[in-house]
């Protein structure tokens, strides 16, 4: 009885792709540049994991929502993942994807001093989405994301890393590249959108 939920067929999963954008220090400008290039009718969902102070996170979502022509919202527990929307993960929570394509929040221990942690989201999203996940790793001053992208690679997702030479903080892109050996795409800020759009 207990297990019927876990063994049911997977045919109810929606088929659009999901972009997981991960960054830390120096990532806002890169994010803004990427989001400004998007069209409102894009056929994907975008989830943004940034290391931010609790105080400024909500303002960022509101600011972006005004500035770009795609709907931007802050994730709440249980939010449905739908295409054509940008989801900002709130500061202080890890964000995961459930089998039913809803977003979950969690307050478990920080990972690499971070909550939200890119590693946590990358692992969880790739677990359910497999090759439908596109991971973007940009500027950041720690190694968050480096473990997560290994899962993405193993589960056949696409990985795009910001060119470390132009990143404000190189550690995060460098750590991801080092962890993978070979990365699908290493591109500068102004080419992130073009590269991602190929997979939409």
């Amino acid at each position: 009885m207990v297990n019927s939920r876990y063994t049911e067929k997977k045919d109810n999963r929606k088929s659009f792709k999901v972009v997981l954008f991960c960054g830390s220090a120096g990532a806002i400008n890169v994010l803004e540049h990427f989001l400004l290039s998007l069209e409102p009718d894009m056929g994907v969902a975008i989830v943004v994991v940034l290391h931010r102070k609790v105080d400024v996170q909500d303002h960022l979502a509101k600011y972006l929502d005004k500035k770009i022509n795609v709907k931007v919202m802050t994730v709440e527990h249980g939010t449905n993942l739908e295409k054509g929307t940008i989801y900002m993960v709130p500061a202080g929570y890890h964000c995961m994807l459930e089998k039913e394509m809803t977003l979950s929040l969690d307050l478990s221990e920080k990972v690499k001093f971070s909550r939200p942690s890119a590693d946590v989201s990358l692992e969880s999203f790739s677990y359910h989405l497999k090759d439908r996940l596109i991971a973007i790793i940009v500027s950041g001053a720690n190694s968050d994301g480096a473990d997560g992208v290994r899962w993405v690679q193993k589960r056949k997702g696409i990985i795009i890393v910001q060119d470390p030479s132009e990143a404000f903080a190189q550690s995060m892109p460098n750590a991801a590249i080092e962890a993978l050996g070979k990365v699908d795409h290493i591109v500068p800020t102004n080419q992130i959108h073009n590269t991602v759009a190929k997979y939409f």
Binding site: G78, E98, S104, W151
Partner: protein, 275 residues
């Protein structure tokens, strides 16, 4: 580089079954992704490189039921977390509570006790502490025993002090604790009307009529069926016109039970029983 540790959906279902059969624990109502991560963490803690080897540990009673429960449940909490909630309580709710001869408050999932203490401080400043009884319950025995002690790490206090003042605190947080050896101990007076007890929300029953129920960041670990059950329990435990406060990022708006509540502040997830 660390090996990638994985657990399949079938193995997770296996975990739920085994812990139920052998340890009498019921994790079937836990949110899936969170549970999957917690089990992976348990496997790492027990140096198991696969679920098969972890299953061996479980089957041979290599761990205790208390250990499993305490490690699976998440205890992260802070003093004055989401200070706007506390500010709202102080500015909008306390004046209503003042009209009661006795104020019953239930902290459902109180974890290590930071929230009851935060509220106790504000109640004291309003002259309401002596009239209040704070029922603090949690399923995690380890967290509860920390809550009873009221001893915390000093390093968090700077953030707490800032949020105490933003909540409308009238003095200084340092008036309420003594610091020593890198720890702080909260004044005993704050805990004088706190009752601690182990309580499982999922199969627990109502035990008093509450003016306020605070249950922040518990729903995020429960499936929607369990959320409904717990919400029912809360509505049944609230006194007429009592307040329910959920976590700031928890929207339980899909539940029909919410029709019995009025939304007082949607952003802060503060509800009030209609009658």
């Amino acid at each position: 580089m660390e090996a990638l540790l994985e657990i399949t959906e079938t193995e997770l279902a296996d975990f739920i079954q085994i812990t139920n059969n052998l340890y009498g624990l019921d994790f079937s109502g836990y949110a899936q992704e969170s549970l999957r991560r917690r089990v992976l963490r348990l496997m790492k803690l027990n140096t198991c490189d696969s679920f098969t080897s972890f299953k061996y540990v479980l089957a041979n009673h290599g761990v205790s039921d208390d250990y499993l429960l305490n490690e699976i449940t998440v205890n992260t909490t802070e003093m004055f977390r989401d200070f706007e909630v506390f500010k709202f309580l102080k500015e909008e709710v306390f004046s209503i509570l003042e009209t009661y001869p006795r104020i019953n408050i239930w902290h459902a999932g109180c974890s290590t006790g930071e929230e009851p203490l935060s509220l106790a401080i504000l109640l004291k400043e309003q002259g309401l502490l002596k009239r209040s009884v704070q029922y603090c319950t949690d399923i995690n025995s380890e967290a509860l025993s920390k809550a009873k002690k009221g001893i915390y790490e000093l390093k968090e206090i700077k953030e707490y002090s800032k949020n105490y003042l933003r909540s409308g605190g009238e003095f200084s947080l340092s008036d309420y604790y003594v610091a020593h050896y890198g720890k702080i101990k909260m004044n005993k007076e704050l805990g004088q009307n706190m009752l601690f007890s182990k309580h499982n929300l999922v199969n627990g029953t109502s035990f008093n009529q509450m003016q306020v129920i605070m249950c922040r960041n518990v729903f995020i670990y429960l499936t929607s069926e369990q959320q409904n059950r717990v919400l029912r329990l809360f509505v049944d435990s609230l006194a007429p016109r009592g307040f329910l406060i959920l976590g700031a990022k928890e929207s339980a708006v899909f539940s029909p039970i919410l029709n019995e509540l009025e939304i007082i502040n949607g952003k802060l997830k503060i509800y009030r029983k209609k009658r």
